[in-house]
Symmetry: C2
Subunit: 162 residues, 2 copies
DNA sequence: ATCGGGTAGTTGAACACTCAACAGCGACGA
DNA sequence: TCGTCGCTGTTGAGTGTTCAACTACCCGAT
């Protein structure tokens, strides 16, 4: 009664290499940002998204949607970023339920200071190690997998600051 | 004074798609295992590695090395797995500093029960969505990136149970 | 023998994320 | 007007990870 479609040996090799790479790569990214800029990668991404928004401000739920994060997670994160002086909360004028996260000048400066090291890490650990063809295929793979995970969003490109 | 090699537009698109995919895919994996088998993915992997070891037992540091985890993380994790009755700690006969993690029969049963759902999730979310060529390139990419992250290990294949 | 440096593993605090519950507000219909 | 329902955002508890000590032990050198 086992109708599970197990992985072939070749698939298993790819799978284990892939999942190990993803873990090690994520650790590498996080450690660099934590060491050089005292922020975890997820917080960096929040600052990036805010920095691209008009007025460097976004409703909490929009911010959560753009980053694929839960409202709870974002609320906790913004509280931390507020303590650091990088983000402020404002009331939403059109909807009293809402609250708006605004990137402060300090937050933008912290982001600008963190970006070169982060982008360099990404380049050295990823793009410099791949051929242009591999990069192209990686993009196709990512889109294909993402499409399968749900009726998805957050693909529209965010410009600048990697 | 900016000698940072920034990403091109095309690279940035690939990067954002890739990092979003990795996050969403990891969440997907974790949620499935947590929901169906009450364990996080990292614990599943510990059980997998133990199940392949001779006698289903490994020194803590070997286990940590094989899974790319810190000793601290592994120690906490094994404590949890011990509470669940899935792993036991034994003293190491040849080195009194050491301790040995042993997979219990219950732990093996839990792993066997969790494996089909997990493998099915991996297949549906990843392999079923890619062409054989893309899978092959994904393997190459993973090896290339992993090679760059440090004088690496943990590539030797682990057989069975995905 | 024992001293010193390195290794193995554990611990507790701090941090990040999840989950479930909650309060507050908007929108729509009776 | 008044409910009701759904949405927004926050909160606190529980879980997992990291970091920095710390203990206990092995090993090699003097």
């Amino acid at each position: 009664m086992d109708d599970t479609r197990w992985l072939t040996d070749a698939e298993r090799d790819v799978w284990r290499t892939f999942i190990t790479m993803v873990g090690a790569f994520g650790d590498h990214l996080d450690k660099q940002l934590q060491r050089d800029s005292a922020m975890p990668y997820t917080y960096y991404e929040i600052l990036v998204v805010l920095s691209h928004a008009p007025g460097r401000a976004l409703r909490m739920s929009e911010l959560a949607g753009l980053r694929g994060a839960s409202r709870s997670r974002l609320s906790h994160a913004v509280s931390r970023l507020e303590e650091a002086g990088w983000v402020e909360r404002r009331e939403c004028p059109t909807d009293k339920r809402g609250s708006i996260a605004v990137l402060t000048d300090e937050g933008f400066a912290a982001l600008a200071a963190a970006a070169p090291g982060h982008v360099t890490t990404v380049r050295e650990a990823l793009f410099d190690r791949l051929t242009p063809e591999q990069v192209a295929v990686l993009g196709q793979i990512s889109v294909a997998v993402l499409d399968g995970l749900d009726p998805d969003k957050c693909l529209p490109g965010n410009r600048e600051l990697g």
